[in-house]
């Protein structure tokens, strides 16, 4: 009833291939965008910005980058954390070498460096596939984190070996560093995430996206119909690492404020991979749903006992939290192995014919 598509006729190919051929979808997206751009910022507290809204957006973007590589082009990668690190360190070096640079431009440019590094580590994908490729990207993970530790130039010879985000302003308003307000940072993140998501949706629906999908589904067949595999795989690595690198720069500059090398170690790669898998490989929306489950839910769960007025020891709460989130992940993967995105699609299909199932 709510999702009835009857009566929505398409009279041209253009209309049929629109981003949202069904009105309700467009309406829903509109509601979400209004929430993200207007409602949340007006109602959220500092705590909500810092622990829920901004991190969910940043993790979603990182998962989106990984999803392009793993979900759309079928190349398994375990080096996401390190590529995020490349973006963050590139941004840090640019900002400290050229303090006049606009921070948003610097963040968008830092992805270029991680794209370059990503392509370099993507070259083995031309000869190896699947788990073997995962091991090759694992090498990138270990090598790059080691480099962040040992190459003192990267962190400006700071004694603690960590990078610290200086105060950066844009048109007289602080956007990064301790002086920046959470709301400004949220808007910068939201702007970049919206922009990149829009670009990625269109990329994956276009010619490039189709070559990626063909490569993923069967590379020999793809080659036979005239797809250049090298081009297809390396562009996937480049676009994916670009998005991941931007996410890494946002991660440090718009949220954490400081970072030590081991922040970009393998647990971060796994976390992003889990978000992509639980959200659904080969989907755009899944990344957001996955990030809400893995990043947002534990924070919300932590506030539940105190809101209900029950006193629970903090350590016990942490253990409970890990158990609840873990079992939810298993639960969702059992009821829908293809991720939350597929779950949503099934619900939507059911809704379009509801209440008459035939």
């Amino acid at each position: 009833m709510l999702y009835r598509t009857a009566g929505q006729f398409k009279t041209s190919y253009r209309a049929d291939q629109a981003l949202f051929p069904i009105k309700q979808d467009a309406f829903l997206l509109g509601v979400i965008l209004i929430c993200a751009w207007v409602v949340f910022p007006l109602t959220a507290s500092e705590f909500t910005f810092q622990t829920i809204l901004t991190p969910i957006l940043i993790y979603s973007l990182a998962a989106l980058g990984l999803n392009i590589l793993t979900g759309f082009a079928g190349q398994l990668s375990l080096g996401t954390g390190a590529f995020m690190g490349v973006g963050a360190y590139a941004c840090y070096k640019m900002i400290t070498l050229m303090p006049w640079m606009n921070p948003v431009i610097a963040i968008l440019l830092s992805g270029v460096f991680s794209a370059g590094v990503g392509v370099m580590f993507g070259i083995p994908s031309l000869r190896i596939k699947g788990f073997y490729l995962a091991i090759a990207t694992l090498a990138a993970q270990f090598f790059l984190v080691w480099l962040f530790e040992k190459w003192a130039w990267l962190y400006n010879y700071n004694a603690s070996g960590a990078i610290q985000v200086p105060n950066l302003d844009m048109f007289g308003l602080y956007v990064a560093g301790p002086q920046a307000s959470s709301m400004t940072q949220y808007y910068v993140v939201l702007f970049i995430v919206t922009l990149l998501t829009y670009l990625c949706i269109n990329l994956t629906r276009g010619n490039l996206g189709r070559t990626w999908k063909a490569t993923r589904d069967m590379d020999i067949a793809a080659e036979l119909i005239g797809i250049n595999l090298m081009k297809s795989k390396l562009t996937a690595f480049a676009v994916s690492s670009y998005v991941v690198g931007v996410a890494g720069a946002l991660f440090v500059f718009m949220w954490r404020g400081a970072a030590e090398p081991n922040l970009f170690d393998i647990p971060l790669s796994f976390r992003v991979l889990f978000i992509a898998i639980i959200g659904g490989l080969g989907s755009i929306m899944g990344n957001y749903l996955g990030a809400i489950l893995i990043v947002g839910l534990p924070v919300v769960l932590n506030t539940v006992p105190s809101a209900l007025g029950i006193h629970v020891e903090s350590a016990l709460l942490e253990h409970l939290n890990i158990m609840i989130v873990g079992s939810l992940i298993i639960f969702f993967l059992i009821i829908e192995p293809h991720g939350l995105n597929q779950l949503w699609r099934l619900i939507r299909e059911k809704l379009t014919i509801w209440p008459f199932p035939h």
Partner: protein, 429 residues
């Protein structure tokens, strides 16, 4: 729509519930780590901190008639969780106790705008001693740089010149905490002519240090100084025993002096030393009260109340309690706010008489803080493992202030410059 409703519900929940639970009294949260890889060393410290506040609440009805709401927020030593805890508690908190150098670095620039004092006793960023730059940060009673200075003085037997030509290995965790003493040790190596070799231990290698100890054997150093924490200490001590390194030439920082780490090697660890600014006093009047009001009343989770770390936890909470009472006396109000507590932390005066009143004689050396000196530089004792427990092996050692002060000044100004615009406390001189 279901997913969307869930989504909306989740966000509504988070928006509505974000306000932390507010209980009666002064809210002094502690960012603990009773879980994760550092839990074994964290738990006794956190127990000590909590039990001291419980004692004050039970015995005296709080401080100045106000109960202390000493709530814990679990971080598992993760910086991300730490920042979450900081954001969760900062609205009503009068202090933040970040309990990790990583979290301290992250929170340090924010405290200027949030106006909450950071209390990081014996850890954090050493230049925090310069109160003129770091208005809101306090690391009493000694900083890591003081620790490095005192260790080297002890090793030299009081005459730093005698170190000339010696070889010293710094076995350190490859993490901001482990890298803290490097600048001061490098400066000392240059000034006094000893050779400094850095042997980093990565976070992943903490429990397997065979490569590091192979390197140490090859280097044949005169001394090994250790900046270790958590699982790293136990493995380092076990490896040192295995490779038959002379234990009397092996010295750790105060966080590497955990009784349980040494108990596993027992008599083989005899001679191992750890510098410490606290000393367990099992027969002190304070311990009698803790036993009576807290442990016997079943309000504590402590396992070994006579361990170095548990009693250090008591001392840490004493700093906070003293700062609260100093601020209460100065401002004439019982329910002080964060800004008044900052004044209190800046005007701590822990004298021998005061320690005797508190029943804590000998648990910590006397010291005082001031506007420009947020550390206090109390000095510390060298503790030595006698095969069963830690015993005092030296008189009170004092850090070489003349050597450290210029470094503190330079590094704190460098920090302020990198984070410009950074507010200075011009009232100090």
């Amino acid at each position: 729509m279901k997913t969307f409703t869930k989504l909306a519900l989740a966000s509504a929940l988070s928006l509505g519930l974000a306000a932390p639970a507010f209980a009666e009294g002064l809210f002094a949260p502690n960012l603990t780590y009773r879980t994760g890889p550092f839990a074994s060393t964290g738990i006794p410290l956190m127990d000590g901190q909590k039990d001291y506040m419980t004692l004050l609440n039970e015995r005296d009805g709080g401080i100045g008639g106000v109960m202390i709401n000493f709530e814990e927020c679990e971080t598992g030593y993760s910086t991300e969780k730490g920042v979450e805890c900081y954001e969760r508690t900062k609205a009503d908190a009068i202090v933040t106790q970040p309990w990790s150098t990583g979290i301290t670095l992250q929170v340090l620039p924010k405290t200027n705008t949030d106006m909450i004092p950071i209390l990081a006793p014996g850890y954090g960023f050493s230049p925090m001693a310069n109160g003129k730059v770091f208005q809101w940060a306090f690391n009493p009673p000694v900083s890591y740089w003081d620790g490095a200075s005192m260790i080297m003085q002890y090793l030299s037997g009081g005459d730093m010149g005698s170190l000339s030509g010696k070889k010293v290995v710094l076995l350190h965790l490859d993490h901001p905490f482990g890298k803290e003493p490097i600048p001061v040790l490098e400066a000392m190596a240059e000034a006094y002519g000893f050779e400094l070799k850095l042997v980093p231990v990565g976070l992943k290698e903490m429990q397997n240090q065979s490569a590091q100890w192979l390197q140490i054997r090859r280097e044949r150093p005169d001394y090994v100084v250790m900046w270790g924490w958590g699982a790293m200490n136990a493995s380092a001590i076990a490896e040192a025993v295995k490779t038959k390194f002379p234990m009397e030439n092996f010295v750790g920082v105060w966080w590497a002096g955990h009784d349980a780490d040494l108990k596993q090697v027992g008599a083989d660890g005899k001679g191992y030393k750890s510098i410490s600014w606290s000393m367990p006093q099992p027969d002190s009047p304070l311990m009698a009260d803790v036993k009576k009001y807290v442990i016997d009343a079943g309000k504590s989770t402590v396992e070994d109340p006579n361990s170095v770390f548990y009693q250090r936890g008591l001392v840490i909470s004493m700093f906070l309690a003293e700062a609260i009472s100093v601020a209460q006396a100065e401002f004439g109000v019982a329910e002080i706010n964060a800004e008044q507590l900052r004044w209190g932390l800046e005007n701590l005066n822990i004298t021998d008489e005061r320690l005797a009143e508190l029943g804590m004689t000998g648990m910590v050396p006397p010291f005082s803080t001031s506007c420009s000196n947020h550390t206090g530089h109390s000095g510390a004792w060298m503790l030595e493992w006698d095969g069963e427990k830690f015993v005092k092996a030296s008189d009170l050692l004092m850090p070489d202030a003349e050597f450290i002060a210029p470094l503190e000044e330079a590094n704190s100004l460098e920090y302020a410059e990198a984070n410009a615009p950074w507010p200075m406390n011009e009232a100090c001189n």
